[in-house]
C-alpha cells in the first residue's frame, strides 16, 4: 500500500530522445518502463514481441546502436539518445522483404512466427559483423533466442542462405556487369 501511495505521489516522467527506425522523437516515459513496453504500447510498434519478459527467450530482440539487445531487459530511460531499429524497419519497402526475411520464408524458418522478429534481428546483427559466419557461429549467435516450433534447423539454414545472398548482393553492387553483358 505504501508503495502504491508513493508511486502516485512521486510518479516521475522522464523526457528522453530516441531515434526509432530513422525517426527522431521526444518521449515522456516513466522511469520503470522497459524499452519493449515503450515500443509496443506507446509507439505502436507491435512487431517486437514479448515472450518471457525475463530476458530468456529473445523474442523482443532489437538493435540499439547497431547491437542486438533484449528490449525487455533494458529500461526505456537507459536507451535515451540511442538509435533503435525494430523489425518494422527491416524490409526495404512495404511490398518487399529483406533477404533474411525472404530466406526465412523460403527455408521454413518459422511456423507460428512468434519468435521470428527476434530471430531476424539477431540474424541482422550477425550479418553485419560476421558476413561469412559458419554454421557453428550462427548457432552460437542464436543462443539467446528460443523457438518452440521449428527445432532450429530451418532457422539456421535460412540464415546461412541469407548470408550467402547478402554477400552475393555486395559482390554484384561492387562489380557491375561489364558493358555489353546483360
Amino acid at each position: 500500500m505504501i508503495r502504491v501511495a508513493e508511486r502516485s505521489e512521486s510518479d516521475e516522467r522522464v523526457q528522453i530522445a530516441l531515434t526509432v527506425n530513422g525517426r527522431r522523437q521526444r518521449i515522456f516515459v516513466e522511469a520503470g518502463v522497459t524499452l519493449v513496453r515503450l515500443l509496443r504500447e506507446d509507439l505502436g510498434l507491435t512487431g517486437t514481441h514479448v515472450g518471457c519478459d525475463t530476458a530468456q527467450c529473445g523474442a523482443c530482440t532489437i538493435l540499439l546502436g547497431g547491437r542486438a539487445v533484449k528490449s525487455c531487459n533494458v529500461l526505456a530511460v537507459q536507451a535515451d539518445g540511442g538509435e533503435i531499429t525494430t523489425i518494422e524497419a527491416v524490409a526495404p519497402t512495404d511490398d518487399a522483404l529483406h533477404p533474411i526475411q525472404e530466406a526465412f520464408r523460403a527455408r521454413h524458418a518459422l511456423q507460428c512466427g512468434f519468435c521470428t522478429p527476434g530471430m531476424v534481428m539477431i540474424a541482422l546483427e550477425l550479418a553485419g559483423r560476421r558476413p561469412d559466419a559458419t554454421e557453428q557461429e550462427i548457432r552460437e549467435a542464436l543462443a539467446g533466442n528460443l523457438c518452440r516450433c521449428t527445432g532450429y534447423e530451418g532457422i539456421v539454414f535460412g540464415i546461412r542462405a541469407a548470408l550467402l545472398e547478402l554477400n552475393a548482393q555486395r559482390v554484384r553492387s561492387r562489380d557491375p556487369a561489364p558493358p555489353g553483358v546483360s
Partner: protein
C-alpha cells in the same frame, strides 16, 4: 515494467556518489542484465536507480606490461573482441565470449558482474585466478578482500566500483561446464600461471561463491601439468547441492575441468 520511481544518470563519479547518498533503497545500474531480471522477479526492489553507463571515466580498456585494466562499464562483447586483450590474456576474451548470450553480452559489464558476485558468474573466477585488484572511488582492494559471500562484496552502500585490473599470466585458461538453459556455469574453472605460482579458481560450485583450490594450486605450482593433479583434492570451500547437481558431482566436475583447463593453458 518495474517499480522504479526515480532514475538518475550522472556524468561523473562524484555526482553518482551524491545520488547514492541522497536516496534510500537506491541501486547502481550498469548494464542491468542481472539487475533487471532480478527486479522482475522481485528479488531486488530498488525505488531509485543510478545509471553509471554514461560516466566517461568508467569506460575503457588499457593493456600494460603486467596488467589489463578494464573500466567498470566495459561490456562483455568489448572484452571478447579486444585485440589488445587477446594478445595479453586470451583466456579472458574466451571467458567474456562465453557469458550468457550475444544480447546479454552486448550490455552486461565486468563491473556489474563483479559487484553482483553471482555464485555462478564467470568473472569472479577470472578475478581470483588473475590476482585482480578492484578500484573504487576511494580505495583499491585485492579481489579476495572484495568478494564476500553469495551476491556479497565489501563495497559500501555509497561506494562505486570504477575499474578492475587483472595480472597478465604466463598462461591461463577457463573451462566452463555450462547449464544448457541459463548458460551460467554449473561449474567453471580458471587456471593461471603467474610467475612460479599457479592459481585455480572455481565458480558455480562453492556455497559462498567463487573460491580457490589450494591443494591444486600447490600441485600446479610444483609442476604445471595435468599429471600433477593426480592426487590433488578439491579443498577450499563447501560445495553446493541443488536441483542441478550434487556436491559430489560438482567436485568431480572441478577435477575434470581443472585438468582440461591446464591442458588448454599448456596448448595455448
Amino acid at each position: 515494467m518495474t517499480d522504479v520511481l526515480r532514475y538518475h544518470r550522472p556524468d561523473s563519479v562524484s555526482e553518482a556518489l551524491a545520488a547514492l547518498r541522497s536516496h534510500e533503497n537506491v541501486k547502481v545500474i550498469a548494464g542491468g542484465q542481472s539487475l533487471l531480471p532480478a527486479m522482475r522477479l522481485r528479488l531486488a526492489t530498488p525505488a531509485v536507480l543510478v545509471d553509471v553507463a554514461r560516466i566517461a571515466g568508467l569506460h575503457g580498456i588499457s593493456v600494460g606490461e603486467n596488467s589489463v585494466v578494464l573500466g567498470a562499464m566495459t561490456r562483455h562483447t568489448e572484452v571478447a573482441e579486444s585485440a589488445a586483450i587477446l594478445q595479453a590474456i586470451p583466456a579472458l576474451c574466451a571467458l567474456a565470449a562465453g557469458i550468457a548470450d550475444r544480447q546479454i553480452r552486448n550490455l552486461g559489464t565486468v563491473g556489474g558482474s563483479l559487484a553482483n558476485n553471482d555464485p555462478a558468474a564467470c568473472y569472479p573466477a577470472a578475478a581470483l585466478a588473475l590476482c585482480a585488484v578492484i578500484h573504487t572511488d576511494r580505495r583499491t582492494l585485492t579481489i579476495d578482500k572484495f568478494l564476500n559471500g553469495l551476491f556479497g562484496t565489501s563495497l559500501e552502500a555509497d561506494e562505486l566500483l570504477t575499474a578492475v585490473s587483472f595480472q597478465i599470466p604466463a598462461r591461463a585458461a577457463y573451462v566452463k561446464f555450462m547449464h544448457p538453459a541459463s548458460r551460467f556455469a554449473l561449474v567453471g574453472v580458471f587456471v593461471s600461471q603467474l610467475g612460479r605460482e599457479a592459481r585455480v579458481a572455481v565458480t558455480g560450485a562453492g556455497v559462498q561463491g567463487a573460491f580457490r583450490v589450494s591443494s591444486m594450486e600447490r600441485a600446479l605450482s610444483d609442476s604445471f601439468s595435468v599429471d600433477a593433479l593426480a592426487d590433488a583434492e578439491v579443498d577450499g570451500a563447501e560445495l553446493m547441492t541443488d536441483m542441478h547437481a550434487s556436491a559430489a558431482y560438482r567436485a568431480q566436475l572441478i577435477r575434470v575441468l581443472t585438468r582440461r583447463a591446464v591442458q588448454r593453458a599448456i596448448d595455448s
